[in-house]
Symmetry: D2
Subunit: 303 residues, 4 copies
């Protein structure tokens, strides 16, 4: 049966120990936390997963162990984006062997390339992949904003969907418009607050970083959106907005969101919040702030 | 004796076979071509070297063999920039073992990081490196334009110079100004046409891609600049301008320069011009154009 | 009674004759078309109104005559943005005299200025204005993306709302979040497709270019959004999406949207579609395309 | 006899009184200061002249009075760039009447336009101008980086030169390369530190903001460059570098350079340093810093 990408697919953070190794116990707890929370799939080794910062050995260990702990309960997607073509193929082959369900492909991210060069790259890459492919638009990291034409060509080559993390809602809506005749091609949004409109207007789900620590919130918001239940949407979306304007605003730099997510998980005693360089985990001052916001959030839950 | 970075240091292309492996014979010929041409150092695994597109194994093989062929005749600099911190350390250690003289460091290039994060990264990285460090500013690829403050901090941490490939001449002049009291800190330009003014106003050299196939031209231009010989400078610089407006304008996309350089080397029968994905070597039509320009260049030499 | 900005406020195009003068008859017809269509206000001399391309005399003539034809039936907002401070004051004074209800202020747009300089500018400007002020965020034209802080300061100085045409939905949502405790401060969106979510999540209306020729469509979509009627929203939004992906995609360059709107109005025999330089009206080929799309749109209305 | 643009052409600041009117006495003193300093032309109403911030009346008054004071001793160039086509024509006609020698044209700067739209605009504008035209590339203000093709078309339409203030030296060198067969087409640089290489490699002069207060320094540097006198070039260029890294670094924001120039002129008692909004003159603290740097500069002159 064909893999269908939809719902809440957290871009899972990679739990790490102080020595840079995999926090295996944390990984297992995190996966249970996500699945218990009702999420519809798990995306390993995306941007929040700090994939490019990890060694191949660590990436492979993560894939193997995550697949083992997930036990087929939800689809597993693995980011194989790399500047080395063979590196991508190698992670893809390992993903297949480990039992993953799909691979995720963004442009190689060192050399600035054109849409034509990206299409050429995909024409080389996709035929060599044995797992279904989801495209990944992440221009703030890769420097290439995938054009509609490039996405269409990826679909012709076999891609089953796209996750867009550009934050460019006009572009995202143009994706929905462009593929509305083929609803089996999944349009997944990477910006949490855009989840309801994504679903209401024909998209399929969200790769929501916040679902790492608040999986139920996002699953509920997804379900309310599928049900067109505006009343619930407004209440749940307000909670997401709170997280966005509190926890995601602790610290500075673009990396603060990934740091905030990992810190929240650590505060919740789910996994460690060590990070791979060039990132560094929050200091105590930021951690206290995250803790305070999590408490506020929990309080509002009761209300 | 302390390593002094100056003169013409070609960012050597990585000769590759059709199967993606190292073109070992081409490598040897290329190295002889460079050294015979009088260059003052060789920079392996930079942007023109397609480093991020190569597997670690291939990078290490290149380092080992290049050092072997170079035989200490000129200093060898090795790019260790990587998104994985351990990847950088590993290439650095291998470079040391292989006999290289320095390593070259640009920011990790997937996550957008701030100057503060880059400084923090350098504070972690540089103390673990046993070879001298040259900084590498390449914002079009890394997304981070190294600030003066970051470069100053790198120098405090032990960096012995910087290569600037931003193309931003005002910035480059501010580098020269900022470090004029410490002329042992090398200021190297990455834009070929800026070589004379770099030298005249206090800089130290050029990492000139064109020196891959025309090492003598750049060495002559460097020497004329050191000698403040404006007459020769104008003649030689005109030749560089010709290369810039001919061979570097064949094809399209930013990658055309690296492609043109490799193609010229192939036309000159020095090495193969296969490239690592996502790049692809020039087709016949472009190759013919490069050949034509090379002939014109040779003709003008005679004149 | 305080002016309340909400609903559909078309950024009215400026009907021009072939000689560059005001198409007065077209102006009158256009205004009737808009008011009959149920719009809630009219915004003169915005970007779609080509304000900066018009002489002061023409701007003043437009203000006077538009106010005369509108006859107080809906609020009139006038763009006073100018690179000359006195130019802004002059247009503002004229607007007051002509009976307009509010003025609209974007940053002076030649010199790149900082947020601090913009705040300083507003502290000078707003106290000298006798009409209510709406802020206007239009970074693609002005080069300054108004920060939350700048907007907050504008509110303190008396601004009654903001129109955001950045297309940056995350920013827009942060505006709604920042001002949710003061719902009398109007948050107006400039991107047509974002209208429903704007209203549902707490915004107040849209400055929709397409409302120039399809006022009822946008008024209906606004009403459906206020009523939280998702079924109607989806149907009406589909029509807007059609316009976006058809008429707004005729021709090229950013200016094609304004050109498409004026052309549609001309095809509908409402006003001329001459434009002020540097823009030029569509040629016949583009006009035929616009006509075809308008026919398709009309057909779908029947369905 | 045809007008030849070359040498040092200061982009003259516009001396203003506290009430925003023209500082007529300052204007006269400034002009004498410039001409006594040996400059080769005066450019009124450029970016340093704050042209877009001034009313038409003030711009015309400036043109008339400047031409009167200059008395034909050097060519007068007048910036006519405006968002209103008729505004540009009007200032151009006034310039002709007042006795100016050329007009300067940059793209209209509100609407983002394409190269094609700019060419179309020039095809309309230039034939209606009775004075020679110099093109002006100023992308940081106008958002359009004039392509080589656009400049070539401008030349075909009659433009006699271009001033490039992009700061992009590779682009600037490509201009020199593109027009080397027609040396009567003037290539003028807008970045002070690039003056020697501009002249040495075939350019014609500099529109140097610093020549407002230090005309002799720039004239001397120009003459040394024409004479290929590298020794003098180095000494004089060092002084320019000092100004760049001292006076131009007082204050913050891009506007600090224009503010610094005006402030220096005020400290030197040549004219007032009031500015047109959105800019504001330096406060005392910054003024003291400028004074200190001017003293240092004067001291080094003696040395």
């Amino acid at each position: 049966m064909a893999l269908e990408l939809k719902g809440i697919i957290p871009p899972m953070v990679t739990p790490l120990n102080a020595d840079g190794g995999l926090d295996e116990k944390g990984l297992e707890k995190l996966i249970e936390h996500l699945i218990t929370g009702g999420i519809h799939g798990i995306f390993l080794l995306g941007t929040n997963g700090e994939a490019p910062s990890l060694s191949y050995a660590l990436r492979k260990e993560l894939i193997t162990k995550a697949c083992k702990y997930i036990r087929g309960r939800v689809p597993v997607l693995v980011g194989i984006t790399d500047t080395s073509f063979n590196g991508s193929l190698d992670i893809a082959a390992h993903s297949k062997d480990a039992g993953a369900d799909a691979v995720v492909v963004a442009p190689p991210y060192y050399l600035p390339i054109s849409q034509e060069e990206m299409i050429d790259y995909l024409e080389r890459l996709i035929p060599q992949l044995s797992l279904p492919v989801m495209m990944y638009n992440m221009p703030s990291c890769t420097k290439l904003h995938l054009s509609l034409e490039t996405v269409k060509r990826a679909k012709e080559l076999g891609a089953i969907g796209i996750k867009d993390s550009s934050g460019d809602m006009s572009y995202f809506y143009s994706l929905i418009e462009a593929f509305k005749e083929t609803p089996e091609f999944s349009i997944i949004v990477g910006t949490e607050l855009f989840l309801p409109e994504t679903i209401i207007y024909g998209g399929h789900g969200a790769v929501a970083g916040g679902a790492n620590f608040l999986p139920e919130l996002f699953v509920d918001l997804y379900n309310a959106s599928v049900a067109n239940n505006l009343e619930d949407i407004k209440i749940l979306r307000n909670k997401v907005a709170f997280v966005n304007s509190s926890i995601y605003c602790v610290g500075k730099n673009a990396s603060r969101i990934t740091k905030g997510i990992k810190c929240a998980l650590s505060v919740m005693d789910i996994c460690e919040d060590h990070m791979a360089l060039p990132l560094r985990k929050f200091e105590n001052r930021e951690r206290e702030k995250v803790k305070e916001y999590l408490d506020q959030f929990a309080g509002s839950q009761v209300a």
